[in-house]
């Protein structure tokens, strides 16, 4: 990757300089300053990264796109949050994307991105991510890098064991972390036990367009379903969920949910339930949830309120659901690339529990149960256990795989990544993280085919890693080179919001098909003007619709008269550029909303309700050409009683 030897020389000189300043310091500990580490992360100006990394933005509600190994951020994709930078959630076209059964919600807590798969391998069509707070699943196109669909999940709360996909993207799965009354009703909180339910939702993904539809909801006992992952290869057809709070406590959970020595991993045979449902099984339950779909040809999102969901009682499908006892409130639930091992990361433990899929099937076949919970068979711990990783660390949370027989587990309390060998369970290496690591990500690291070159550790605490920025700081992430026996810390970079999990893939999977423009001749927006001669202004009562077009560097029309105080003015703006990377912006003085950023060939709409008489300018916000500063116009606003005729023009027209 290094193009210039001079650069290396400069780094070396710098390193020497630093060393020179640190008299008596122990230089051997400065591994990351070594030129070899610099060389590994250095992507020379004009060159491109080897991998895409999609980091969840946590409480930013969005998804951020980074390059690996450089750690450079390329884009923030708005998903669950309004985003004034582009007008997402502000423009008339995208407001519907944030509708829910609770009304318009401008925010959520985005957690676990997962890239679509075919045959258990990343296929780069879409990336899914869950909104944790008001349960939703979003689908983002990896061609346009835009949110195309958001579906709300009824009967769910704390949508955390989501949004993980099966190995042919048959389903994206959403599990509830907080059990709730199903259906919701007015009842005493302390009657939680045995009354609340935990819904596990299987959302089908239509293969051509990716459209989502809740196929069924499995109504499980009222535990907390924390994380999940699909079976793959031999265990394809199963899905595994970690649980905690099998105590079913409803208060002082910190203590009361940590009483049991073991909680469960729930193993769900979704193929069996799918068959049951396809044969007419399940119960339709009245409910209310939003399904928001963005149409690329009309550039417009629409909301459909759905009124019914199909629920399944696990007891009605014998042989479909089992509990695997797993020590100490397991958090991450990870399945190795072969599909043979299911790893429970017992967050209050020092050890990792590894279950064997083959042993699980044998135990089920032999009906070797160790009791039941609400009628669901519990398998015997010893019968399903493949092994225990005695790590010596504290607080294991998540595990990823390198495809070479190794697993990498984060330890939150002891702040480290531990590398261990699948099968022998021996610890091979451990490296500190800075600090309190949550998730980690290897591109493809939870698929059949990981790309085991780098692991990114995403930390919860930053403290002294960067220059201080007051009490609030971005979180820190670390990149380790895992191509050798030992992990090597090669880079630190700040992340946006709080990344819970990430998904990565080789750049060549996405870069060649990344969309450059929207074709004007495919623009089916009802308010588009595909020909500047059609630019016009129409009044319907106090609604005024401005059909406007833009190209470097003017708006058509740019002078508008006949608008009155009290009007509701819609600017429908079509960008007539057909060249890559030539967006135009639009902003109007005094407008109670954000700007619009309109991509080539796209149409977007913004509302303005003028409250004051005057001549008010609007302008382009995106420096588009040498004449960008001239890209502006005026709207004359007259008193409500005025009878100034509606007129519009550009130049002498």
């Amino acid at each position: 990757m290094i193009k210039s030897k001079y650069y290396l020389g400069a780094i070396a000189a710098l390193a020497l300089f630093f060393v020179g300043c640190q008299q008596g310091a122990n230089n051997s500990g400065k591994g990351a300053l070594a030129s070899s580490a610099a060389e590994k992360v250095y992507v020379a100006p004009g060159e491109q990264d080897e991998f895409y990394a999609f980091l969840s933005g946590g409480y930013s509600g969005n998804l951020t796109v980074y390059g690996l190994p450089s750690g450079r951020m390329f884009k923030e994709i708005p998903v669950f949050s309004q985003f004034p930078t582009s007008g997402y959630g502000y423009s008339e076209e995208t407001k519907p994307m944030l509708n829910t059964s609770h009304g318009f919600i401008p925010w959520d807590d985005a957690h676990h991105p997962d890239i679509s798969q075919t045959n258990g391998e990343l296929d780069g069509r879409w990336i899914f991510i869950n909104g944790n707070n008001t349960p939703r699943i979003a689908r983002i196109s990896l061609k346009t890098f835009e949110t195309e669909e958001i579906i709300e999940i009824p009967n769910s709360a704390g949508n955390h064991s989501s949004s993980f996909i099966t190995e042919n993207t048959e389903y994206v799965v959403a599990g509830t972390r907080f059990s709730v009354p199903v259906p919701q009703r007015d009842m005493p909180i302390n009657e939680y036990k045995s009354n609340f339910k935990g819904a596990l939702s299987f959302i089908s993904v239509e293969p051509e367009h990716g459209h989502m539809d809740i196929k069924f909801q499995l109504l499980m006992p009222g535990f907390n379903y924390d994380l999940s992952h699909p079976g793959r290869g031999k265990s394809h057809g199963w899905f595994f969920f970690t649980t905690y709070n099998t105590e079913e406590a409803n208060s002082l959970m910190e203590v009361n949910s940590s009483q049991n020595d073991k909680d469960f991993i729930a193993a769900v045979n979704w193929k069996k339930i799918e068959e049951y449902v396809n044969n007419g099984g399940g119960t339709k339950m009245p409910t209310n949830y939003a399904h928001n779909l963005y149409d690329e040809s009309t550039h417009t999102g629409t909301t459909t309120m759905k009124k019914e969901v199909l629920t399944v009682d696990p007891l009605d499908v014998p042989g479909a659901v089992f509990f695997l006892p797993t020590p100490k409130s397991p958090h991450g639930c990870d399945v190795d690339p072969t599909g043979q091992y299911i790893i429970g990361n017992g967050k209050l433990s020092a050890d990792l529990t590894v279950h064997s899929f083959d042993k699980m099937i044998a135990a089920i076949d032999g009906k070797k149960y160790d009791g039941e919970a609400y009628g669901i068979p519990i398998l015997k711990f010893e019968d399903v256990l493949a092994g225990t990783v005695k790590s010596g660390g504290l607080g294991p949370l998540h595990t990823e795989f390198d495809g070479k027989g190794n697993a990498y587990t984060t330890f939150f309390i002891s702040s480290e990544v531990v590398k261990w060998k699948i099968g022998t369970w021996e610890v091979i290496d451990r490296k500190p993280t800075y600090y309190s690591v949550g998730h980690l990500m290897i591109p493809g690291g939870n698929s059949r085919k990981p790309f085991g070159k780098y692991v990114v550790a995403m930390n919860k605490i930053t403290k002294d890693r960067y220059l201080p920025t007051g009490p609030e700081m971005e979180h820190s992430a670390q990149i380790y080179d895992i191509s050798g026996d030992k992990m090597e810390l090669i880079y630190d970079f700040p992340t946006h919001g709080e990344p819970h999990y990430a998904a990565g893939c080789p750049a060549e999977l996405l870069a060649p098909k990344s969309q450059k423009i929207y074709r004007l001749d495919e623009n089916k927006h009802p308010y588009a003007v595909t020909n500047p001669a059609d630019a016009r202004v129409e009044r319907k009562g106090n609604e005024v619709h401005i059909y406007m077009s833009t190209i470097r560097s003017h708006f058509t029309p740019d002078n508008i008269e006949g608008i009155k105080v009290g009007d509701k003015v819609y600017f429908h703006i079509t960008n007539h550029e057909q060249d890559f990377d030539v967006p135009h912006g639009f902003s109007m003085i005094g407008q109670n909303t954000s700007e619009l950023l309109i991509m080539p060939g796209q149409t977007k709409t913004s509302i303005w309700e003028p409250k004051q008489v005057g001549v008010w300018p609007f302008y382009c916000t995106d420096f588009c050409s040498a004449l960008h500063q001239e890209m502006q116009g005026y709207v004359r606003v007259s008193p409500a009683s005025s009878n100034i005729k509606l007129s519009w023009s550009l130049g002498e027209d």
Partner: protein, 170 residues
């Protein structure tokens, strides 16, 4: 802000002048015209010698421009199907800046066939950026039209060819 841009342009012009070598006495108004002196860097297509006429009325029929279109003989008969398609494409993709009946953001295409070669027109539609960088006439037009760079509208060869056919009818 406007001043900044203008200053920048001036500065650029000055830079170009200073690099251009054989400087020529030129009067006041359009200092940007200094860019014309950058003859040396031109590709070999620059056609006739320095022409004092403004680029919009200059005749450069022997200049094929720079780009993928090297040689484009035209059938003497005008193909009306192509004209119809070209007129439609022109309306959607070009009229924001080019009006048939007048000079607008850019020049009118009326009479363009008497000034420019078919190859030059095609190259200008297909890759205006390259043309502005390497073709003297295109560069002079940019200057004459106030620095408003022609947008690349991502036309295919066939689409550009249809537009050219439409120009033959104007």
């Amino acid at each position: 802000m406007k001043y900044t841009i203008k200053l920048l342009l001036l500065f650029t012009a000055a830079l170009l002048l200073s690099c251009g070598g054989k400087e020529e006495k030129k009067d006041d108004s359009i200092k940007i015209g200094g860019a014309k002196k950058e003859v040396k860097k031109e590709a070999s297509n620059s056609g006739s010698a320095i022409d004092e006429a403004p680029a919009s009325v200059r005749i450069t029929l022997d200049n094929k421009g720079v780009g993928e279109v090297k040689d484009l003989p035209l059938d003497p008969a005008i193909n009306q199907e192509m004209v119809a398609r070209g007129a439609e494409l022109f309306k959607t993709n070009c009229t924001a800046c080019h009006k048939v009946d007048k000079r607008f953001i850019g020049p009118s295409p009326k009479g363009i066939m008497e000034r420019r070669s078919p190859e030059w027109i095609m190259n200008m539609i297909l890759d205006p950026q390259l043309m502005v960088e390497e073709d003297r006439c295109a560069k002079d037009l940019l200057v004459e039209f106030n620095g408003a760079a022609m947008a690349n509208q991502n036309m295919t060869f066939d689409q550009a060819r249809d537009i050219l056919e439409y120009f033959r009818t104007l």
